[in-house]
Symmetry: C2
Subunit: 452 residues, 2 copies
Amino acid sequence: MKDTKLLEGIEISDEKEDLICYSYDASYAKGTIPEFVAWPKSSEEIVKVVKWATNRGLKMLPRGAGTGMAGGAIPINSRTVVISLERMREVLEINSKNFTATLEPGVINGELQKELMIYGLFYPPDPASMDYCTIGGNVATNAGGPRAIKYGVTRNYCLAIEVVLSTGTVLTLGGKTFKRVTGYEMKELFIGSEGTLGIISKITVRVLPQPEEVITLLISFNSVESAGKSVSEIIGSGIIPRTLEFLDSSCLSLIEKNFELGLPTNVEAMLLVELDGEITSIKRQGEKIVDIARKFNGEAKIATDYYSRENLWKARRSISPCILKMKDKEKINIDIAVPIDSLSKTFVKLNELSNKSNIPIISFGHAGDGNIHVNILVEKSNEEEKKQGFEMVKKIFEFTVSIGGAISGEHGIGITKKPYIDIQLEKKQIELMQAIKRVFDPKGFMNPGKIF
Amino acid sequence: MKDTKLLEGIEISDEKEDLICYSYDASYAKGTIPEFVAWPKSSEEIVKVVKWATNRGLKMLPRGAGTGMAGGAIPINSRTVVISLERMREVLEINSKNFTATLEPGVINGELQKELMIYGLFYPPDPASMDYCTIGGNVATNAGGPRAIKYGVTRNYCLAIEVVLSTGTVLTLGGKTFKRVTGYEMKELFIGSEGTLGIISKITVRVLPQPEEVITLLISFNSVESAGKSVSEIIGSGIIPRTLEFLDSSCLSLIEKNFELGLPTNVEAMLLVELDGEITSIKRQGEKIVDIARKFNGEAKIATDYYSRENLWKARRSISPCILKMKDKEKINIDIAVPIDSLSKTFVKLNELSNKSNIPIISFGHAGDGNIHVNILVEKSNEEEKKQGFEMVKKIFEFTVSIGGAISGEHGIGITKKPYIDIQLEKKQIELMQAIKRVFDPKGFMNPGKIF
């Protein structure tokens, strides 16, 4: 029944077709079909859904576009109402004097970027799924993206949020100023909380003036290690590019197969470097980078015009969906973050694990800030290989933590990484997090079974 | 008794001379003499002090250099042991490849800056007290500084902390990577928690490569409003200077009186603007700023050499101590943060309040990010005027919150702003903060009576 009578005029459904759509996300996780999906249109409507759900003992799962990579937005309890924020898509205010934008949670990241462009502004966080993913989901996972190396992640731009707690309380956390020390910054807890603390119903972000110019460099290398060393040296030289993306040879083949951009497929690794700022200054930086690349036998090309650059990024952003399309293969994808000086070591380790097991690994990601997306490709119907794949995940996480890294850089824990959380966090920390959850959601209504 | 026998070799004192030194900070708040001061030299020693204190029912107050402006480091319960982190001053690691520095909490901000300079690096947060204040204190108050407009505050650079809780538990929160989404980021709660959650015993910060060049501009204006409007237009033009400091005429007179730098004292307001980056690009930015200033009848001068620049900053940083030295006057100092587009409005309001009451207000601060230090100067022995002064504080805070601002940008709440916290935060938020405190410090040993 798709209905607006059930819940004081709020659109809600228990039709199977609707429910199935809301039982998966972009991860390999498998969830349960929820009992209801609701589409509130305002904070007031969210409060009504919350009260309605808690009265019925229903769990609640807030959801943006479902582009999450860790299963955070997948119901795992059938007595769940998915609270979809898709109908809350309004850009409430763009203040070009105060450099802030106030948004409903369902605003698409890419749509915001387009609107900001008119004002000569931009919002730095740019997850690969930016054409689909919502700002609410970005906050809930502390989303990053290629530009994080220079500009930081969602946490660095989220100034204020309005949240609806499972108790029905509505709070505004943070404010419109860039500086603020007024007690515990509870907003920071909600950033990356994956819907487990409350429902984010409004967001104010900081935005920046658009840079004058952008230069894009494509550099090919004959070895993964040389690419890794170049990354370290570029960063070490004092240049902070706005992106420094790494693609391995399997990535490049995959892109060429799907897009035919004319990328070299006979190289071992490629860096996609972008510089932004004033033209004279980024030209000089570009020359410096070309020199560094040469030292490691890297060959650089410059993509000058807007369209070739956009095509390149379109291709880069499509890697994940492309991998999903591979027949007979299932991808186990994880995103790790390692200290920048351990990048080469990490690539070597990944190669070693792949060679030893004969299971292909496609690696790409944000080399500049040590955030690597690792895709382990296992045969679809080979249960033994799948098991081996998950053992590799465990080994990669153990290695990551042993060198001071994080088992998730920008995807979150959700359910896919939950089995490994104790590699990262000691028991006491998990207990403290659980206690924090109880402060905001005493009866455990919000997205239960996620993270820990 | 100054002793190392009392507490397993840890230096501790109950001598009056010692205790008195630890009963005040840089604020106008008046505290109580504590029962003990302890100077642990390691995390292990901190744990021992914590166990010793809790066994005796003593409250604990972690303290850096005591340069805080809100009374956060002042004991208000006589049964307190002040835990001074002054003896934990080691820079444990500077990693110029990973762009991180790991520090003991008692490391002086300015000392860190000097060490980093050798590596061609710098740590952006630069509170005015940087030559004295400690990194631990900086984290505990989420300290900012003039460079925050371009580079952000302590929160943006603090990657990991080790904390000792009042339960004796030692936790490492965060890690050495720039990206990380692994459950609730509890580290963020400790940043700005003013010693109320636990004792910060180790810190890893992100550092940046030094910019190629710095240009300093001094711009004088005939009206406070023109200065405010210039700030808005400079920021609006897309330039992000590394500092954009505002000084009013009383500030300038004060500096001239104490330093004789040859600053014009017949102007109404002055902006101190710094640009950093590649020389060609900041030169262009400098020209643009001069043009903007001219539109508002501002007159610009360039301080080219290192020493004249350093003198200027020395003077800027000394304003607070200079005000303290004023005979017959007591300063009630507050730091507010307002949305940038409300700067002019705020200056006008402050002038209005001062004129109406005939109580002088000296304003200065970080105009670029809307963070203004407001000093209300009342007669030392005039209790009636003091009362009036505190009424002004309340009015300024109410105004600040009404325009979407924060009652503290970088000083914290401590005890001086505690009476006003409910202007900023609704009751429910304070209750949630208190519940969070109980999660980390169930028996209320840590710095009780502060913030809320």
